[in-house]
Symmetry: C2
Subunit: 143 residues, 2 copies
DNA sequence: ACACAACCTAAAGCTACTATAGAGTCAATG
DNA sequence: CATTGACTCTATAGTAGCTTTAGGTTGTGT
């Protein structure tokens, strides 16, 4: 199959497929005499794997690691579980952060319930005055 | 005060300060004869405002809007509240997405409870087989 | 006089793509 | 057989919000 078909069945764009190839997530496929990429079922399988990981918000780094571990049967899947657990931890951490944020935002929102003059707007004053417990450092790739 | 001191009291790096200036979030300060930036209290106040907004994960666009609205006392603060409410909605939406993700991840994680051969690893098989309800499009700037 | 910290600009790097420009391939139609 | 149109190719730039690097200048202390 050519790149358009591959992209379609894998639910992504052709640009994304080419991008994955450049990143080393997908191996370079054979080419037709006219220089078109030709893919087999093994490429589709791998691309599906990658897209599923992305749908779970894993980073390319994490996916790389998983792909490498998958072809080392000797290793057992302990390392795979570790990657996975760490990713779950990332997601949980980000949820916590956002929940915290939401609290702060709601508190601030309370301060301006009515339409009034800008000078009196409680939100603006709150934003100016907030004593911000320093923005915690990102440990995760989740924005 | 010079840029280093400003950055320190505002809890960010000097590079970030210069970046905000280039982005138009901070106005260009005066310079010493030696071409060093010199800031006054008004710069600090504005930078604090910006950093507080960033701590709440607002985008530069949102912050720009707020800063503009803040200097238009004629307008009243209805628009400000609107920006704020929309941002709160962004945060809530992202929390929902991540919660959904976490469910999927935990389900998958169940499939490999023990250290075993890679070929049998339920996570890998799950990742390969997952029939992914297409990754929903981002409406927010929160990753 | 010289070291050293802090400052300066400009440009590249980061993540995961998306978008654009300009050119080539191929099957079908007139 | 020439042309149209869909598809493909490469290379490059843009997105957000910074961080990092390179290479040079200013100011301070000994």
């Amino acid at each position: 199959m050519k790149i358009g078909e591959l992209a379609q069945v894998a639910q992504c764009t052709v640009e994304t497929v080419r991008y994955y190839e450049k990143e080393g997530l997908l191996s370079e496929p054979a080419r037709t005499p006219g220089n078109f990429r030709v893919y087999g079922p093994e490429h589709l399988e791998r691309l599906r794997f990658i897209r599923n990981c992305r749908a779970l918000d894993m980073s390319h780094g994490e996916i790389h690691t998983l792909l490498n571990l998958a072809v080392q049967p000797a290793e057992g899947c302990g390392a795979i579980n570790a990657v996975f657990d760490q990713h779950i931890a990332h997601v949980e951490e980000r949820i916590q952060e956002l929940a915290q944020l939401k609290l702060q935002l709601n508190t601030l929102r309370q301060r301006c319930r009515t339409e009034q003059a800008v000078d009196a707007c409680g939100i603006l004053h709150g934003l100016a005055a907030m004593e911000n417990g320093q923005k915690s450092e990102r440990h995760t790739h989740l924005g």
